[in-house]
Symmetry: C2
Subunit: 240 residues, 2 copies
Amino acid sequence: MKKPDTRTSRHPVSAQPRAASRASAAKQTKVVSAKLPLIKLNRTERAAERRQAIIDAAMEEFIARGFAATRLDDIAKRAGVAKGTIYLHFKDKESMFEELIRTAIVPLVGRMQGPPPASGTVRELIEGFALNFIREVATTRRGDIVRLIVAEGPRFPSIADFYYREVVSKGLAGMRALIELGIARGEITNKNLARFPQIMVAPAMIAVIWQSLFEKHAPLDAIEMFRTHLDLIFGERRTT
Amino acid sequence: MKKPDTRTSRHPVSAQPRAASRASAAKQTKVVSAKLPLIKLNRTERAAERRQAIIDAAMEEFIARGFAATRLDDIAKRAGVAKGTIYLHFKDKESMFEELIRTAIVPLVGRMQGPPPASGTVRELIEGFALNFIREVATTRRGDIVRLIVAEGPRFPSIADFYYREVVSKGLAGMRALIELGIARGEITNKNLARFPQIMVAPAMIAVIWQSLFEKHAPLDAIEMFRTHLDLIFGERRTT
DNA sequence: TGATTATGACTGACTAGTCAGTCATAGTTC
DNA sequence: GAACTATGACTGACTAGTCAGTCATAATCA
C-alpha cells in the first residue's frame, strides 16, 4: 500500500497547527511570505494579489511535477490560500492549467515580435534576437514552460494549438522573412534555408531541452553553440 | 462529487483521469493473442509472451498519458491480463516505467552505434545515418519515447541519467568523431563544429518534437530539412 | 498431486471539487 | 465619525470518488 510517491513533497512551509487556524484568524494566521500587511490594499487589489500568488505557485508546481501529478492542495499551500480560493479564480484544475500556460506564453510572443527591423546586418539581427532568447528563455524558468508544453502538449491539444498559432507560426514567419532578407542581401547563400526556418531555431530549442535534462551531466554553452551555427549559415568570421 | 463533466468533452485524450478513462484502453481489450493456444508453448515461453504484451501495452499507455495519468488497470486490460499479473513481472508502477524506458532505449543505441566506418564521404556517412534515424525514430513510435523522456526526465533522474549515458553521450561522441574526420579530410571547414556535435543532431531532434506536436498543423519534410542543414555544413551540392 | 502461475475482488491512502459558514471591509445612516 | 448593515472573499472540513498494490482463491502445468 505504500505509495511510490514520485513527488517528494518538500514544502518548507511547515503545516500550521490545525487548531489555531480559526482562533487567531484575525491577523496572525497566514505566515506565508506572500502577504505583506504593511501596505493597505482594498478588496479588489488583494484579490488580484492572491490570484497572482496562485498563478505563481501553480506554475512552480506544474513545472516541477507535470499536470497529473500536481496536487491542488500543494498549490494552495504554496500560495498561502485555502484550496477553495483557487476555485474562486479558476473553473477547475484543467482550465487553470490551460489558462496558466496561455498566460505564460504571451511574454514569449512579446519577445519574439519585439525587435524592430533596426539597422545592421541580418546576421546581427538574428544573433541579437537569438542571444536574447537564450538569455531570457533557455536559461530561465520560461524554458521550463517550453518543456512543459512539449511534455503535456499531446494531452492538451488546445494548448498545442495555441502555442503553434501564437508562438511557432509567428516566430517561424518572422524568421523566414529575415532569412529571405539575408538571401536578398547576399548574406545567405543557401536559398533552401527559407523553406526551413526551423533550422535557424533548432540550436536554441536544443539548448532549452539540454538545460532542463542534461545540464548537470554536461553544461552547454548555448550562446557559443548558436554562434557556431550562425557561422555555418553566414560564413565564418566572428567578431566576438 | 466528481461531476461527470457534462459540458464540453473537447479533449479526445483528456489528461483528466476520470473523463478519458473509459475511452482509452476499453476498446482494445481482448485482441491479445495470449488466450489463443494455437501454438503449444511451455510456461517460460508463455510468461515471456505475456511479459511482452504487458510491455507493449504499458508503452502505449505511457506514451498517450504520461506516467502519472496512466492507470495500471488500463495497461492490464490492454495487455489482456489481470492486474495482479503485472506484479509478477514488475515491482511497482515506477520501476515498470523505468525498466520500460530502458528497454526501449536499447534499440536506439543499437541504431546509433551500428554503422561501421564504411567507405564514402563523411557527408554520406552522416546523411545515411541521419536519414535512417529520421525514418526509424522521428517518424515512428520510438519518437514518442524520446518525447516521453523529455517530458518525464526531470521527474525520473535515473531515466535522464541512463539516457544521457547510453544514448546522448555515446551518440555525441560518435558524431564528434565523424566531424573531426570530416575536418581532417577537408570536407568540413568550420573547426568549431567539433565542439558542438549537438548542432549536427539538432534538426533531427526538432523533427521528432515537431512530429508529435505540430504535424497536424503543418507537416514537416524532415529529410529535406536535414539535407538542407547538411548543405550548410558541407557546402551546397546535393545529388538528390 | 503438488507446485507454479494467474486472477480480480478488495483495501486504504489519496485527491478534485463543494459549500455552509466566517469575518474583514465597504457602504449607509444619523 | 461612530454605529450598524451588507457584501463577498475566503476558509477548510467534507463528499464522492480513484487507483496502486495485495492476497485468498482458482486455474494450469509438469
